[in-house]
């Protein structure tokens, strides 16, 4: 390749955007993690840091999953159940999620 033209100013600009992107990713992650640890939404965590009014904790933290028809098919295969037997599938889903939580929260005291 022949000598590259001098685009060092443009290279610097690209580098600056790169730094900005990395920084905003780090900031977003910090807010998501700290919000989760305090049972808050990310938006409320931002408001808390800015000392604006916010809801202290979620009134009823819920864990929901919306299962589509094809999800029931996949889960039925996995659990070897009838895809029509949605109650049984939901029961196994609940068990699996509880199992995950138990393993994850090793210091939960249970």
């Amino acid at each position: 390749m022949a000598k590259k033209p001098d685009w060092s100013k443009e290279e610097q600009a690209v580098q600056a955007v790169q730094l900005a992107f990395d920084l905003s990713n780090d900031i977003q992650r910090a807010f998501r993690v700290s919000a989760a640890l305090q049972d808050m939404s990310t938006a409320d965590m931002v408001r808390k840091v800015l000392q604006l009014p916010y809801r202290r904790a979620r009134a009823r933290p819920r864990l929901t999953v919306t299962l589509k028809d094809e999800d029931f098919e996949l889960l039925a295969q996995k659990y070897r159940l009838d895809p029509q037997d949605r109650a049984a599938i939901r029961h196994r889903v609940a068990e699996e999620l509880q199992g995950f939580a138990r393993n994850y929260l090793t210091d939960s005291g249970h």
Partner: protein
């Protein structure tokens, strides 16, 4: 046009029914992070130099891709880059990006059009290249 006047101009503006949320990012060179309403998942980063206004959205990183299909992905990226309106595909570090460059004398209307098009293109590209992710 500099980043400061751009921040003020975009903050109150609407273009094709879209609004713009502008957040300056701290650093040596001024960079703006602009979120276009309706395309919040793909923020656009803007920086202004003497020669161009560079607008850039991040798509994915090298390590997120299936290495066996990398060549095919690059081929498709090069081909899609030409007809794609107002934007082109490229790479900075390990990040694949979609970007558009404007003349520094561009007005707010041109910049807003670029931002809306770029953010929408980024969403379309993420869907188009979903199969290449590992």
């Amino acid at each position: 046009m500099d980043t400061q006047s751009l921040t003020l101009a975009l903050g109150d503006a609407t273009h094709a029914g879209r609004t713009f949320d502008v957040m300056p990012v701290a650093g040596d060179e001024p960079v703006l992070q602009v979120t276009v309403s309706g395309a919040e998942e793909t923020p656009v980063y803007i920086t202004v130099t003497d020669t161009q206004i560079l607008c850039l959205a991040y798509l994915f990183d090298t390590q997120e891709l299936n290495p066996e299909r990398l060549h095919e992905l690059h081929e498709n990226m090069l081909r899609i880059s030409v007809p794609m309106p107002l934007s082109a595909l490229g790479k900075t570090g390990d990040h694949y990006v979609v970007y558009g460059a404007l003349s520094p004398t561009s007005g707010t209307a041109e910049i807003m059009q670029e931002l809306v098009t770029l953010a929408e293109n980024a969403i379309d590209l993420l869907q188009t290249f979903e199969d290449y992710l590992a």
